[in-house]
């Protein structure tokens, strides 16, 4: 596995939660949104084990309902526990990413550095 996909794997839960927080999505939409923001390394199928795990841990819930195009789809939304978890993950990501950016980018102008 490449370094990039290993890094991604660790933070994928957070990314999935972040997309779901913005709007109600079903699996295919979710994978398209992840690719749209530039996470093209995430192979589409990987979201299903993630979705199952998040459901099992009570962070998201899925409800079957008709989609715009007609057929039933399972739409996901965050639970209160999921909102909490997303806050924690974002906070921790900030704490890790800011110093790492500073270190690896060696003072190049980054919008995060203040």
């Amino acid at each position: 596995m490449s370094l990039r996909s290993q890094l991604l794997k660790g933070i994928l839960d957070g990314c999935v939660l972040a997309v779901i927080e913005k709007e109600l999505v079903y699996g295919y939409e979710l994978s398209r949104k992840l690719q749209q923001v530039g996470l093209s390394d995430v192979s589409e199928g990987t979201i299903y084990p993630v979705l199952l795990r998040l459901q099992k841990n009570g962070l998201i819930r899925g409800v079957m309902k008709p989609s715009e195009s007609g057929p039933n789809r399972k739409y996901y939304s965050l639970t209160t526990a999921g909102e909490e978890a997303l806050k924690v993950i974002s906070e921790e990501w900030k704490q890790v990413s800011v110093p790492i950016n500073a270190l690896l980018w060696k003072g190049e102008d980054l919008h995060e550095s203040e």
Binding site: Y26, S31, E44, G45, T46, Y48, K56, K74
Partner: protein, 223 residues
């Protein structure tokens, strides 16, 4: 949507897949379905999501391999690891439905056999309670183990290049023949003893039909 409706829909939607995608997806499906300990409802829901995803991807020219990766077994194992196990209550329901079904067929066949034979020869319709319980117990045991053995064989061989179909067929066949022999032997050697009652073909047919109806209703989740 209930599991049996999802299965029905899955069967219809699978026909829309290209041959290559169908091969890939069906292996995933068999691999997950033959893992009996998993929640049926949850398994069918995620299988449906994956199928919908594959169909949408297929419209955009993507293959199952591109969507789910080059390692279908590894991928399916990841899914299985995250799926919840079946709740005890549902397991009991399933086993109950299965045993009603088996008993039902047993009684219906017995009824017809008695009716047919009584035309030509004088057959006794006396049932000895204890020996009958022993034989039925043996049948139930061998059927439930048989289901486990055969599904286990399928589960193992799906992604195993080395496993030979012939060998698996032989194993399943030997199992079937073995358990059949045991049941026949038990039938032959166990003496008629203990309390007994008359159980004519009409009653056998009637009660068997009732059990089959109950089992059918349970399967449709009416009961």
């Amino acid at each position: 949507m209930k599991a049996n409706e999802l299965i029905e829909q899955n069967n219809q939607k699978r026909e829309l897949l290209t041959e290559e995608n169908e091969m890939y997806y069906s292996k995933l499906l068999m691999y997950i379905r033959t893992k009996l300990s998993l929640s049926e409802q949850q398994s069918e829901e995620v299988l449906m999501e994956m199928l919908d995803h594959l169909l949408e991807g297929q419209d955009e020219g993507k293959s199952a391999r591109e969507i789910f990766g080059d390692d279908p077994k590894g991928y399916a194992d990841e899914i299985i690891e995250q799926l919840p196990t079946e709740e005890k209550r549902d397991m009991v329901k399933f086993l109950g439905q299965l045993s009603f079904n088996l008993m039902g067929w047993f009684l219906v066949i017995r009824g017809f056999t008695l009716l047919l034979f009584s035309i030509f020869v004088d057959v006794s319709d006396t049932v000895y309670i204890l020996p009958t319980i022993i034989i039925l117990g043996l049948i139930a045991l061998s059927v439930s183990f048989g289901v486990k053995v055969i599904l286990g064989l399928i589960h193992q061989s799906l992604f195993n290049e080395k496993s030979s179909e012939k060998k698996d067929m032989l194993k399943a066949g030997l199992y079937g023949a073995g358990s059949f022999a045991i049941i026949l032997a038990a039938n032959y050697f166990i003496r008629e003893f203990g309390p007994s009652f008359e159980f004519p073909w009409t009653a056998s047919l009637g009660s068997g039909g009732m059990l089959l109806l109950i089992s059918w209703l349970m399967k449709r989740k009416v009961l």
